[in-house]
């Protein structure tokens, strides 16, 4: 392992985080919530720690795959730990574990909170919560690749470790160019969303924070009743559309710039994404129409909840805990699938389901024609056996971690629905689950131990397991 290089990069992550923290600092000065000392101290600590680490001078400047994975896992832990400092200094949280949980929930774009009343928080803290979604959505390492000149070609492994999907890849030959294009698309879409939300009638502060939450598919909001608290239909529709858009593979947007519209329209994952969203909305609308005044209100709530859950944002306009079982089951299904690979959303990702469905079909065919040769293909390209087996392995790890975490959470004897959905919502970075962790509930009642387990699930889910799991192998700590 190239420790010097790893720590140098983590130093740079911390310095960038210090830079990002200047924004909530400015907000806290503008709104005068009295939380600026918390940010000042945090920035000081971050800058000091970051500068010391960044001063390291590694001899060998090449990343191996293993280095990149360790960097990704380790820097996300550091990012979250240091990101918890403002919460801790502000004094609104009960313990440091709570602060870390909130921070990890922010960066991993989960959006589950330990706070029972967010409306009393000062504006700076609220801004930092939502802004951490935006940073975590596209990823801080991708940002570093985009801005740091000393990063070389081998850092493609960094991009792989942090991006989502079975085989994340570059969209243009140059890695830095790729990272820049991704962030440009991300930034532009966020700006458009901010403007639209402002036009829809949200305050300038709410437009910013909610846009960050939607863009990163996070889910922190500024009211206790989530988006339902604004009771603004236009804003809800805008968010519904954008939550859907941020769940699409970003490299597909790039094909639009190349005027390859057919490639965009023929993408199998996008088609299935759209199909699942429409089907889920229809089922739930019919299923819940009795609970609301008429079909239109049912449609309004079902479409918002469906896009919110499948994109793993976790916003709510109504308490879906009170919905019939069928609707709740559909939502749990959506929590597992998540959206498209290469988006800012979480979950298992639809492309993995498609790959395994097709692999299963090929295997079934072999029972009837043992000698038949058929390959799994996606969008007309053959999927290598390597990727198929990695995908299957991903499923195994997802469910293995799910069951182990569920066992650990169950120690404190909460009801099974709450416990199970809390783990799914954390692993898939959704946020709210059902029962006591439902849209109107929160994670405050969990013990510190459960909070640590769930925090692990959130980071593991965001990094798609491997970067975090390598930290627990002995190889990662051998020279």
């Amino acid at each position: 392992m190239n420790y010097k290089l790893i720590f140098k990069l983590i130093g740079n992550v911390l310095r960038i985080e210090a830079l990002f923290m200047l924004f909530p600092l400015a907000v806290s000065f503008i709104y005068g919530g009295g939380d600026h000392p918390a940010f000042l101290w945090s920035i000081l600590i971050l800058a000091a720690a970051g500068t010391i680490l960044a001063k390291l001078n590694p001899k060998n400047k090449n990343f191996r795959t293993r280095d990149a994975f360790v960097v990704a896992g380790f820097s996300w832990i550091m990012l979250s730990l240091f990101g918890a400092l403002p919460f801790y200094f502000s004094g609104y949280f009960n313990s440091f574990i709570d602060c870390v949980f909130e921070s990890i929930s922010g960066f991993s774009t989960t959006g589950s909170s330990v706070l029972t009343n967010v409306e009393v928080l000062p504006k700076g803290i609220l801004f930092w919560r939502s802004f951490s979604h935006w940073i975590g959505g596209m990823g801080i390492l991708v940002f570093i690749i985009a801005v740091m000149p000393s990063i070389n070609a081998s850092s493609v492994n960094l991009l792989r470790a942090e991006s989502t999907g079975p085989s994340p890849d570059k969209i243009v030959p140059k890695i830095r160019e790729t990272a820049r294009i991704m962030y440009t698309i991300y930034f532009a879409m966020t700006v458009i969303l901010i403007i639209l939300l402002k036009i829809a009638g949200l305050s300038i502060f709410d437009s910013f924070t909610n846009a960050f939450s939607v863009a990163g598919t996070g889910g922190f909001s500024n009211t206790n009743a989530s988006i339902g608290g604004y009771n603004n239909i236009v804003a809800e529709i805008i968010m519904t559309v954008f939550m859907f858009l941020f769940g699409i593979n970003f490299s597909l947007y790039f094909t639009l710039f190349g005027r390859k519209f057919t490639k965009f329209a023929n993408d199998i994952e996008l088609k299935i994404y759209l199909g699942i969203v429409i089907t889920a909305i229809l089922i739930i609308t019919i299923n819940i129409s009795g609970l609301y005044n008429g079909i239109w209100e049912a449609l309004r709530h079902s479409s918002f909840q469906v896009t919110s859950i499948i994109s793993t944002t976790g916003f709510a306009t109504t308490d879906f805990n009170l919905w019939p079982t069928l609707s709740k089951s559909v939502l749990i299904f959506l929590m597992f699938t998540g959206c498209c690979a290469g988006s800012t959303g979480g979950g298992i990702k639809l492309i993995r389901f498609i790959i395994l469905f097709r692999a299963a079909k090929v295997e079934l065919g072999k029972i009837f024609h043992p000698g038949s040769v058929k390959t799994v293909s996606i969008n007309g390209k053959k999927v290598s056996n390597d990727i198929v087996s990695k995908t299957a392995l991903f499923f195994f790890i997802y469910f293995a971690i799910f069951f182990v975490s569920l066992l650990l959470i169950s120690i404190e004897n909460k009801d099974i629905v709450s416990s199970a959905t809390a783990v799914i919502a954390s692993l898939s970075n959704v946020g709210p689950g059902l029962g006591i962790v439902g849209p109107t509930g929160n994670y405050a009642t969990f013990s510190s131990f459960s909070k640590i387990v769930l925090s692990f699930c959130m980071i593991a889910g965001r990094l798609e397991f491997f970067p975090l799991l390598v930290l627990f192998t002995p190889h990662a700590w051998k020279r």
Binding site: N152, A153, S154, V156, D169, K170, V172, P173, K174, I175, E177, K382, S384, D386
Partner: protein, 465 residues
């Protein structure tokens, strides 16, 4: 600039790797073996597309419609030509094809142009040309020429004539009226730009620059023999040998060449192919194993001026070279395909000249690319990479001075040069000037710049900003 490289073997990989390291060059690699991606392409900054390079769909996916250059380097000559023609028809502006069968070599390059191919690269022939160049200039180990061969940049090892250098400083060895400029010194995997007090060590490799005649004088002064190789032994009879014999015959009629080849059929076909020329008197084809000590002694390896190892196997080449060195052969050229050059150097096997066909070919392609990008207003004429090691690269760059340059009409000592920049020779009106502190660069000059780890795109890039 967008470049498509078809075929990711040794040559294609080297070309893609070197090109992708440049800031503004976007490389797409096409190969029909998808597993190549994990093995080779992953660590370099390119996009990989699996497919046949002559397939219309693959080419379009690789961006052939708006690419600036396609370099086709697969094993099959015919496929390379087809790739280039198709890409050119689709809209790619320039094309380079690898063609290596001697029977396809055309007398008239115009025919290739008519086919739509701008340049043909033949690694074997280029390697042979490189070898023949080294054989002709026996005094120097490596040589690069500038300004229509009026200036040479040559390297040699101190260890061969240590009495003139070891323990002496630069100002003691190099006199200002010698007409020679000391460019860089390679020492223990580092390239140093020395000043006057620099003391030479035995393991150093020195690069000097000047007019050929001055360099010849200098070599006479330090008693380095500079006569051409007369007796040459070539081991291995492949395509490179074919081209090498042809080239040596063209340049040095006096040289006697002995070729040792294991495969009888190869021996015969080579003999047949070369019999038409007037070589027969000077060439001797021997069927035998080059690793057989008795055979080598029988054929007089002790009397040889030079030994060139060109078998297909790197290990054999290295072995025979080491043996030849032990037997006292002065000039040894070793072809290495797979083993990394630096690895051989680090093992302490300083074998004289190591030749790597893919590097030579990559250099040619890069020079072509530099020409394409430098064509508009940048005034860089040629770039030669003369050193590459742990601490970076050293390039020798020939620049035409145009009106816009900031550093003209100023004594050189007043210029604030970047670290790792040395102003080499200046060519003015058919004269070659070795600059001193008072020398000024003027409009119309051609300047050769030695640059370590700097990205020089125009003359003013040498100045501290």
């Amino acid at each position: 600039m967008k470049i498509i490289v078809v075929g990711c073997g040794k040559i294609g990989y080297t070309i893609a790797k070197v090109l992708s390291e440049k800031e503004d060059i976007h490389v797409t690699v096409v190969d029909n073996n998808p597993n190549i991606f994990n093995k080779a392409v992953e660590p370099i900054d390119v996009i990989f597309i699996s497919g046949n390079g002559a397939n219309e769909k693959t080419l379009i996916e690789a961006g052939a419609k708006d690419a600036d250059l396609i370099v086709s380097t697969t094993n099959a000559d015919e496929l390379n030509v087809l790739c280039c023609i198709m890409a050119e028809r689709l809209g790619t502006k320039h094309s380079i094809a690898r063609v290596r069968n001697p029977e396809y070599m055309l007398e008239y390059n115009k025919l290739w142009k008519d086919l739509g191919i701008d340049m043909v690269i033949n690694p074997e022939r280029q390697t042979a040309r490189e070898i023949s160049r080294i054989l002709r200039y026996r005094a120097a180990d490596d040589i690069v020429t500038f300004i229509g061969e009026r200036v040479e940049l040559v390297s040699f090892k101190v260890s061969e004539t240590p009495e003139y250098f070891v323990g002496k400083s630069v100002s003691q060895v190099f006199d200002s009226n010698m007409g020679i400029l000391l460019a860089i010194v390679e020492r223990e995997n580092q390239a140093l730009i020395p000043n006057g007090d620099f003391i030479f060590k035995e393991s150093d490799i020195i690069w000097i620059m000047g007019r050929p005649s001055q360099i010849m004088k200098f070599f006479t002064l330090i008693k380095r023999r500079s006569k051409k190789a007369q007796e040459i032994m070539v081991i291995g009879g492949g395509k490179i040998t074919h081209y090498l014999v042809e080239l040596l015959n063209r340049h040095t009629t006096k040289a006697n060449i002995k070729i040792i080849e294991k495969d009888r059929n190869k021996c015969e076909s080579l003999c047949e192919a070369l019999s038409s020329s007037s070589l027969e008197r000077h060439c001797l084809f021997i069927h035998g194993d080059g690793t057989n000590e008795e055979l080598l002694i029988d054929e007089g390896i002790d009397r040889m001026d030079a030994c060139v190892c060109l078998t297909d196997r790197d290990e054999e080449n290295v072995f025979i070279s080491l043996y030849a060195m032990r037997r006292g052969v002065k000039k040894i050229i070793t072809k290495i395909n797979y083993i990394h050059q630096n690895m051989a150097k680090n093992l302490g096997l300083w074998l004289g000249n190591i030749i790597t066909p893919q590097d030579i070919t990559a250099k040619t392609v890069i020079r072509y690319v530099d020409g394409l990008s430098g064509a508009v207003g940048r005034n860089i004429i040629t770039v030669h990479q003369i050193y590459s090691g742990d601490d970076g690269n050293v390039e020798a760059i020939e620049v035409q001075v145009n009106k816009k340059a900031k550093c003209i009409d100023m004594p050189i000592k007043k210029l604030r040069l970047k670290k790792g920049i040395l102003i080499g020779c200046i060519s003015r009106d058919f004269d070659v000037i070795i600059p001193s502190g008072e020398t000024q660069i003027r409009i119309g000059d051609r300047v050769i710049i030695i640059s370590k780890n700097n990205d020089i795109r125009e003359l003013d890039d040498i100045l501290e900003s």
